[in-house]
């Protein structure tokens, strides 16, 4: 166990954590505004990954450029899904809302299975194995770019929410639905906006992951379960929580993989999830409910 190995693992954990954070950000945005836990979040990521893969293999478009397609595409799909599938159950009992997103996830995941088969695919680019040296560690370039991309998008989203009128309207709708409606904020449109933005985030995460992660119908589930852990850890609805939680989980997973057999680390993540749920269901940074 050399310092280099440890440092590399740490760096890898941070980079992957950035991606987790982006996925979690989308999830937490949706929950923060609509109070819905979107089980189909991972499915959207998976679809974005397939779209990126398809674009790259058929038209040679570089995955990073594909962001220009998948991010707006993700937004539109999210918006559409919210209008079509989520809006009808907003007034329904919570478990029905959960079942709706669960059904959506089931549908999308198996649609992909039917269309693309279960064979995992990997995209190899000219730079898939390139590394960048930072101090004693060599960082995998695609992972580093994914991390940078995730940070950039997160910053952009944060700026949008803080600085623009639309962003503030969104936050108003999240915090106080009826009050927001009273002052003329079109709350239903805010919901669609939140879902669209959340989906765009996760689509971006998917695209950024393609250069170094395999693509398969259930890859979305892998990420979304981790995203749930992150979101619960950081607090449902909390932005900083999603960020810190994502980084924390990424690091724990990476370091855990060093010391433990791969799947034990997975179990560790689930146990962490359960522990956090029990200790503080509102997450480490979420607001305490009455």
């Amino acid at each position: 166990m050399t310092v280099e190995i440890l440092a590399t693992s740490l760096a890898n954990g941070v980079m992957l954590g950035g991606l987790y954070a982006l996925v979690a950000l989308g999830l937490t945005l949706i929950f923060g505004v609509m109070r819905i836990i979107n089980f189909a979040h991972g499915s959207l990521m998976m679809l974005a990954m397939y779209a990126t893969f398809g674009l790259a293999t058929r038209t040679g478009v570089d995955p990073y450029l594909a962001l220009g397609v998948t991010v707006p595409g993700g937004f539109l799909v999210g918006w559409g899904l919210q209008r079509l599938a989520i809006a009808p159950v907003l007034g329904a009992p919570e478990h029905n809302q959960l079942l709706m997103t669960l059904g959506l996830a089931l549908f999308l995941d198996n649609l992909a299975l039917a269309l693309f088969t279960a064979d995992p695919r990997t995209l190899l680019t000219a730079y898939s194995a390139s590394t960048v040296a930072i101090g004693p560690v060599r960082l995998n370039l695609p992972r580093l770019l994914a991390f940078a991309g995730a940070l950039g998008i997160t910053a952009a989203l944060a700026a949008f929410l803080k600085l623009t009128v639309l962003g503030r309207a969104l936050r108003a709708a999240a915090e106080e639905r009826d009050g927001a409606a009273l002052v003329g904020i079109p709350v239903r449109r805010m919901y669609a906006l939140a879902f669209g933005l959340g989906s765009a985030c996760v689509a971006a995460a998917g695209t950024l992951a393609v250069p170094f992660f395999y693509v398969s119908p259930e890859v979305g589930n892998t990420f979304v379960i981790t995203a749930f852990v992150v979101v619960v850890l950081g607090g449902l609805g909390s932005f900083p929580g999603a960020l810190l939680g994502g980084l924390a989980v990424g690091v724990v997973e990476s370091l855990g993989g060093l010391f433990l057999h791969g799947s034990l680390a997975q179990i560790g993540i689930f146990l962490l999830f359960i522990l956090v749920l029990l200790a503080r269901p509102t997450g480490l940074l979420g607001a305490a409910h009455a």
Binding site: A85, Q97, L104, D109, A114, T117, N221, I225, Q266, L271
Partner: protein
Amino acid sequence: MRELGAGAALAGALLLPLVVRSEHVVGTLTLIFFFAFVGQGWNILGGYAGQFSFGHALFFGIGAYTSALAFIKGGISPWLGMVAGAVLAALVGLLTGHLSFRYGLRGAYFALVMLAFAEIFRVAVTNWEWVGASFGLLVPLRGHAPALFQFADKRAYYYVILGMLLALTAGVARLERSRLGYEMAAVRENEAAAAALGINPYRVKLVAMALSAAVTALGGTFYVQYFSYVDPTIAFGPAHSVEILLRPILGGAGTLWGPLLGSALLGLLGEATRGLVRAHAGLHLMLYGLILMVAVVFLPRGVIGLLHRRP
């Protein structure tokens, strides 16, 4: 009138394998009864007590693996293994229930926590050689051995699951009218109000969980004896958790006949789309997803909810 109809249906069910020679029809009905059984197991906690679990495959898997392992490793009859599995599942249910309910988890949080527990078992079993790891467990075939829960004639399994289902239905019918049944309904409808009336929500939910877990585990044993095989994904996987809850949700959660109704509908649908489904893997799950989405919007209280329309 209703008694007459029920009697006729029962007679029909009992006589069917003797009259209809098609193994396929008997097999389809066997599965319909099976899913109605485990669905009713889920229903006890999810429908009657109102605690939706997205990880009931946990108990199913415990039942399946316990009886299979007891037989494979120890030569113990799966009939006994079945009981052991149910007891073990109830204990695990008490543990997970205690953690969840003591700490006030409900709604989405509870659903997720159960999913997490199921996933932990799935991953653990997948990596544990002694229980077959990812290869799963093959039940050694002994031909016709009723004492070992194996029958040469598949129709025997039909009668076993039918018997189990009838017994369970009678049990749940009594539960509905019992003190515990009313306490469960109160906790489901409004937990705070129930507490204000002297009902201990934690205890009620815990008992419901133990019962639900035990029943689901019994179904797990039946499954592994019927198919002679189980693996971690079949037993503990999220897809299986969904299969378990889909029937009662579709038929009507919290009702006595919801699970059977939902199972029959889904079974019929499966038959109708059989040719289509066989061509593509995953198509039937896709259909389930669609059905779930449609049901949630148009049948928020299941098909039975349609019949007792609420303004």
